[in-house]
């Protein structure tokens, strides 16, 4: 089976490591994608770029040619250039960036893939995916501090199919919106490990997390869901509560958790309309995660009517 994303690099260790990382994600993009990676001096950003938008450690320079984009990693010099309609990204890593490859993969190369995919209608959302006992797809959107990973690990430990704890792609699918997961290990901080009372996994010192495949927690992996439930989790107190959201508040939440990717001007409207379609497809709820969920795990099966 084609990996879907091919890595080209004349340095075998880099090619092999990045290819393995992307293969583990098990994404099947609509067109073959290629990362052409070379290690060398990172050139200046093209002078004709439009005003950039910034994210921690990343700067995005939309080009004046429609759909062109230069992505700069600031942790160590690295740059990716994308062109409209092309499934190829030309990536230049400085030797310093190449020396920090694991960080570069998750912090920079994954973002390059995110922006390649949106050129072919796959739009990123910070979200976790799962399938509940009634067969309904759940999308839980939010940033990394709201308990998505702990909840995803919890659902896996209850035997639910789960897709991802963070990297999800919205994809139009026969009049509906599907969500494809990038398969990666679910990362738990010490507090999450304690709540779930799980052991094992692999400790990653750089992230301060212990990571697990869904199967190691008792779950299975699901590549694709069609959301019927949208959840926006927040960390709560003792009690777990679920509050229905008005449609426009659901849409605002979806925008919020896509907000920086959506800012690329050329594709913003398409992305926004896909979020609205998702909001029409599935009701949204604010999920306040309480400690009772972990002391009374079957509560999760009754949370969403």
């Amino acid at each position: 089976m084609s990996p879907g994303i091919t890595v080209q690099c004349d340095q075998p260790t880099i090619r092999s490591a990045v290819q393995q990382y992307l293969d583990e994600g098990r994404l099947h993009p609509p067109v073959p994608l290629t990362l052409e990676i070379e290690v060398g001096e990172v050139p200046p950003v093209p002078p004709d770029s439009a005003p950039p938008f910034h994210q921690p450690q990343l700067v995005f320079y939309p080009g004046t040619r429609p759909g062109s984009l230069t992505i700069v990693w600031e942790t160590a010099p690295a740059q990716a250039r994308l062109e409209n309609g092309s499934g190829r990204a030309r990536v230049i890593l400085s030797p310093a960036a190449a020396d920090r490859l694991p960080e570069c993969q998750t912090g920079f190369l994954m973002m390059t893939v995110v922006f390649l995919l949106r050129r072919f209608g796959w739009h990123h959302v910070h979200g976790a995916t799962a399938v509940d006992r009634r067969g309904r797809g759940w999308l839980m959107a939010g940033n990394s501090q709201v308990g998505k990973s702990t909840t995803t690990a919890f659902l896996a430990s209850r035997g639910w199919p789960v897709g991802t704890d963070d990297i999800a792609f919205l994809v139009p699918s026969a009049g509906r919106v599907a969500v494809h997961a990038f398969r990666s290990r679910i990362g738990l901080r010490p507090g999450g490990l304690e709540l779930l009372a799980v052991s094992g996994g692999v400790f990653q010192p750089r992230r301060g997390k212990t990571v697990f495949w869904p199967e190691e927690l008792g779950g299975t992996w699901v590549e694709r869901i069609e959301p019927e439930v949208l959840l926006f989790p927040v960390i709560g107190g003792d009690r777990t509560t679920v509050t229905p959201l008005a449609p426009r508040d659901t849409l605002a939440q979806l925008v919020r958790w896509s907000a920086w990717v959506i800012l690329e001007p050329q594709l913003a409207q398409e992305h926004l309309d896909l979020l609205a379609a998702l909001g029409r497809q599935a009701p949204g709820y604010r999920l306040e995660l309480g400690r009772d969920l972990f002391s009374n795990p079957q509560l999760i099966d009754e949370l969403i009517p």
Binding site: A246, D249, A252, V255, R256, P265, A268
Partner: protein, 94 residues
């Protein structure tokens, strides 16, 4: 402000609707806003630049409201949109 001043969406505005209400995103300021049904009707009407009188007429066609109510609602909404740079206002040439 002259009565013939025309309102138009800011070029950085993107708008989408859900069940009669909407969310607008400003790509330049990177802020997003929810808008009510009336606000959505006004922003959608600005697909063609319009004067306040034309916007009021659009609201009256759509809702059973007095001209005064439509005007005050439209003005309040447009003022907020101007502050958030969601729309621009161009004075008509003399």
């Amino acid at each position: 402000m002259s009565a013939s001043a025309r309102y138009r969406p800011h070029p950085d505005l993107r708008l989408t609707a859900l069940e009669g209400e909407g969310v607008v995103l400003h790509l330049g300021t990177r802020r997003y806003f929810t808008v009510s049904e009336t606000g959505l009707a006004i922003l959608e009407a600005l697909g063609t630049p319009r004067s306040l009188d034309e916007i009021v007429a659009t609201l009256q066609e759509r809702y059973h409201v007095t001209p005064e109510h439509a005007r005050s609602s439209a003005l309040a909404f447009l003022d907020r949109c101007l502050s958030a740079q969601l729309v621009t206002r161009e004075e008509a040439p003399d």
